[in-house]
């Protein structure tokens, strides 16, 4: 009955998911097909005893790596997920892509794509799998994080959050982002994937001396040099690496505050 670190993280994430489900009228979970959101889905099934009692939303930028889409459709079927696929059709039709600017592309295809689906379905809570250890502004996030009517993040005036009493009251028209994995590290995620045998996209495993550490759209996601071809080998690699996780994500490196601007505008 004594709890180790993964037990404690799991229990806390389940508590957060149950709070979101109980306190908010209309919630949805974002599924990026990456390892973190797979873990999050797994935790939801644990929290609700095998059920996923809210829609799972994937914002498709049409630039995703093909293996990710194949994985999405297979797992959604196997796990019987209530999947909703969103996209920013007008932006796609007008030819939006990273050649028009990486930050602009992320904003149009991901953030605006998400906003459209929020507006369409009237969600008041969006569950996202971000973690504090990914990046500096995410390190400052709240578990229940309010967004303005325009989906903006007012990072200079975040609500107090302590003793697991979350902000669950908010004006109409605004919504909350819920972050059940905020306290997890990249290493925790992999150790949990190993412990629970959670499926992940093959792209994470080394092929010809390279692998993906973080998955996004094909044009802006690079791979890292690695020979780790199993979950266990990835864990060993992460225990010693000094390369940051999102180093392969080009949109973060556009300028000093590129990611902050993306997030303030409503990016995950």
């Amino acid at each position: 009955m004594s709890m180790n670190d993964l037990d404690a993280l799991e229990a806390q994430s389940i508590y957060i998911l149950r709070e979101a489900f109980n306190r908010l009228d209309k919630i949805a979970m974002l599924w990026s097909i990456g390892k973190d959101s797979n873990v999050m889905l797994w935790l939801a099934r644990k929290a609700f005893f095998g059920h996923v009692p809210f829609p799972v939303v994937h914002v498709d930028t049409k630039h995703k790596i093909p293996e990710m889409i194949e994985f999405r459709d297979r797992v959604a079927k196997e796990w019987n997920l209530p999947l909703i696929i969103g996209e920013n059709r007008p932006a796609l039709d007008s030819g939006m892509g990273p050649h028009l600017g990486r930050v602009e592309c992320c904003t149009a295809l991901k953030t605006d794509g998400l906003k459209q689906i929020l507006g369409e379905h009237g969600y008041t809570g969006v569950i996202a799998g971000i973690r504090r250890d990914e990046e500096g502004t995410r390190a400052k996030e709240r578990v229940f994080s309010p967004r303005t009517e325009a989906a903006g993040w007012d990072f200079k005036d975040q609500p107090p959050e302590f003793w697991d009493q979350f902000k669950t009251d908010f004006p109409p028209g605004t919504h909350l982002r819920i972050h059940p994995l905020l306290a997890w590290s990249e290493l925790d995620v992999w150790r949990y994937i190993e412990r629970e045998s959670i499926p992940v996209v093959e792209l994470y495993f080394s092929k010809n001396g390279k692998r993906y550490r973080s998955l996004g759209c094909a044009p802006c996601t690079g791979s890292v040099v690695s020979n780790a071809s199993t979950v266990a080998e990835i864990i060993t690699e992460l225990e010693t690496t000094k390369i940051s996780e999102r180093s392969g994500r080009a949109q973060d490196q556009e300028s000093e505050d590129a990611f902050e601007r993306l997030r303030a505008g409503g990016y995950m």
């Binding site: 009955m1 004594s2 709890m3 180790n4 670190d5 993964l6 037990d7 404690a8 993280l9 799991e10 229990a11 806390q12 389940i14 508590y15 149950r18 709070e19 489900f21 109980n22 797994w42 099934r45 644990k46 929290a47 609700f48 005893f49 095998g50 059920h51 009692p53 504090r132 250890d133 990046e135 500096g136 502004t137 390190a139 400052k140 709240r142 990072f155 200079k156 975040q158 609500p159 107090p160 959050e161 302590f162 003793w163 009493q165 902000k167 009251d169 908010f170 004006p171 306290a183 590290s185 150790r191 629970e196 045998s197 000094k242 390369i243 940051s244 180093s247 000093e256 505050d257 902050e260």
Partner: protein
């Protein structure tokens, strides 16, 4: 791999600009926690701004933070020493970001308080120290930073050390270590610095490694707040997190406040290769099914019969206030404790604590970022423990509108405990309970508390109301100020302390009568708001305050006992209205303005209120008699 402990959570606090973020950045660098290229990247960022290298930028990731050179929000980053993994929480020192400091500090197991050797102990050093203690943190190490600016002078270090140790001791905290540090150059961060040969204690990292990890709450009595009830399939699952104690299949759970109980039939779980659990303990998020389908809902707290939580309508708490509007007596909030929510009203502000000198002030309101002791009352009984006994059920937040505006820890309250006991007796032991008596009498028992100046008409009104209610067949009685001073309170004088004791006794006696079904009218000047609020807190459901609001001039003109004349002549000391204060009720249930109306009119007003409030309706009687 199965038994890796959770990282220890450390918060770094202190006055603005004393170097918290720099210390954190330096710790991360010395422990190799920064990713490759991070330092080079930050050097570039600093160069672009034309400034020297800034360690603080590791944590201060926001543009506004870098532009202004201050930490706005709390951040968390991991590192590890030889001994164990850590999560380090950086908390802002600016007074206006106190909510963010609390957000960071509330989840920590231990703290480092940073103080500038040059500036010494400042306002936020004290405030943060005080709040850490209030939040329940007992392990605090002090880093006296910027020793390089005072040439590593031992005498200066000793002065600052003595000052902060004296303050922390006065709030009951013994710092584990006080370390002289220069975060910018790295002195005494990971190893002993050559610049401080006179210092023999541990470095900062060594001091961290000596903190004790937080103990699991498994050994405390069971507290299992209901978070939700699921019916996704044929199972009806009671879901929640075990806050303290443990459960096993077959245990009988008692749910507060309903008092209903049932046995645990199964502990449910889902996932891969799980084995059905037969037991679970503190910290686990679980789901159970019961052997009987009793009514259970979110907010109820399951415990074992040997040790149930306290249940009371009134709680006293020490709180920190973050609201933009001040907290006042009479203000209403939503109080969230574990998974429950209660509508509460502030009935008393017992004291406002100045964190600078720890002096207590009488205050009518609690301003932003202040600390105070406050009494709340709630229509529904609050299931709780005192914070010292079980923090998990002894702390709460307050919500006003859409926002969390404060947090508090519950003190051990005598009134609450006593009420808890008598509530149990009424509900469990008495064969004739409050409701049965009400039904028999046709009205509820209660305390109608008349307060007002001497000569305002309290006794006159009370006696006439008593006569008329009696004629209507009511169980009614008056407790009169002058009369009880001949017996029950014959040992008491008129000092504030004696007046308080007088009112306390009368309050207890009148509630005994009320619980026995009697409508009690009291006629006491009862000039102090705090005294009256304490009587209200005995049982807010029963207590109704009526302000007999006759002006001082009119009372003095009436002077039925010639007391004002004597008081004016200096023959009666501490006479209310003349030489002692009268604190008017802020939100009385009824206010009777006797000036310019006849006694009969005033009596009729009070009678109307009592009959409307305490009579049982025909419907209530029909339901009560089972018709």
């Amino acid at each position: 791999m199965t038994n890796i402990a959770s990282p220890m959570k450390i918060v770094v606090v202190g006055h603005v600009d004393h170097g918290k973020s720099t210390l954190v950045g330096r710790i991360l660098n010395e422990t190799g926690a920064l990713p490759e290229g991070k330092v080079e990247y930050l050097k570039e960022v600093c160069d672009k701004r034309g400034m020297p290298f800034e360690w603080a930028f590791v944590m201060d990731a926001l543009q506004a933070e870098r532009d202004q050179g201050i930490t706005i929000d709390t951040a968390q980053i991991r590192f590890r020493t030889q001994a164990r993994p850590y999560v380090i929480i950086d908390a802002p020192g600016h007074k206006e970001f106190l909510k963010n400091m609390i957000t960071g500090a509330a989840s920590a197991e231990a703290a480092v308080l940073v103080i500038d050797a040059h500036e010494g102990v400042q306002e936020q050093s004290r405030r943060h120290g005080y709040l850490l203690h209030l939040l329940g943190l007992r392990q605090i190490a002090v880093a006296v930073n910027k020793m390089d600016l005072v040439n590593f002078d031992q005498a200066r270090f000793e002065v600052v050390k003595a000052e902060i140790v004296a303050y922390l001791n006065s709030i009951g905290v013994e710092p584990t270590y006080v370390v002289p540090v220069a975060a910018r150059s790295g002195a005494n961060i990971s190893s002993k610095a050559a610049e401080t040969p006179w210092y023999t204690g541990p470095s900062v990292l060594e001091a961290l490694d000596r903190f004790e990890p937080a103990k699991a709450a498994t050994d405390l009595p069971l507290r299992f707040p209901v978070q939700d009830v699921y019916k996704f399939d044929e199972r009806r699952i009671i879901a929640g997190r075990i806050e303290s104690g443990r459960i096993k299949v077959g245990d009988t759970l008692v749910f507060a406040p309903s008092g209903k109980s049932a046995r645990i039939a199964t502990i449910e779980s889902w996932g891969g290769n799980h084995i059905a659990a037969v037991a679970a303990g503190a910290g686990q998020s679980v789901g159970v099914t019961l052997d009987e389908q009793i009514f259970v809902e979110r907010g109820q707290v399951a415990s074992l019969i040997e040790s149930t939580p306290s249940l009371s309508h009134s709680v006293k708490a020490r709180l920190f206030w973050l609201g933009r509007e001040a907290l006042k007596v009479g203000s209403r909030y939503k109080l969230k404790l574990a998974t429950a929510e209660y509508a509460v009203e502030v009935t008393a502000i017992e004291r406002v604590i100045d964190v600078e000198d720890l002096a207590n002030h009488q205050g009518a309101e609690v301003g932003r970022n202040a600390v105070a002791e406050v009494v709340f009352r709630s229509k529904a009984p609050i299931s709780h423990d005192s914070f010292i006994v079980n923090p998990r059920l002894g702390r709460f937040v307050l919500v006003e509108g859409y926002d969390i505006v404060g947090g508090g820890v519950i003190a051990e309250a005598d009134a609450a405990r006593q009420e808890h006991k008598s509530t149990n007796i009424t509900f469990v032991d008495h064969k004739v309970n409050f409701d049965t008596r009400s039904l028999g009498n046709g009205h509820r028992g209660g305390v109608v508390w008349l307060t007002g100046l001497s000569g305002s008409g309290k006794s006159t009104i009370a006696m006439e109301v008593e006569r008329q209610l009696f004629l209507k067949g009511w169980q009614v009685s008056v407790l009169d100020g002058d009369n009880v001073r001949h017996g029950l309170c014959s040992d008491l004088g008129f000092s504030p302390e004696d007046r308080a004791e007088n009112i306390r006794r009368v309050g207890e006696v009148s509630h005994l009568f009320a619980q026995a079904g009697v409508l009690v009218l009291t006629a006491f000047i009862s000039p102090y708001r705090g005294d009256r609020d304490r009587v209200r807190a005995i049982d807010p459901e029963l207590f109704h305050e009526i302000h007999v609001a006759t002006g001082l001039d009119e009372c003095e003109r009436r002077d039925p006992k010639g007391l004002y004349k004597k008081a004016r002549a200096g023959q009666i000391p501490e006479f209310t209205g003349i030489s002692a204060p009268y604190e008017e009720p802020i939100v009385p249930e009824l206010s009777v303005i006797t000036d310019g109306q006849t006694i009969e009119e005033s009596v009729a007003e009070v009678l109307r209120y009592i009959e409307e409030t305490f009579s049982l309706s025909a419907r209530e009687q029909a339901v009560g008699w089972g018709l």
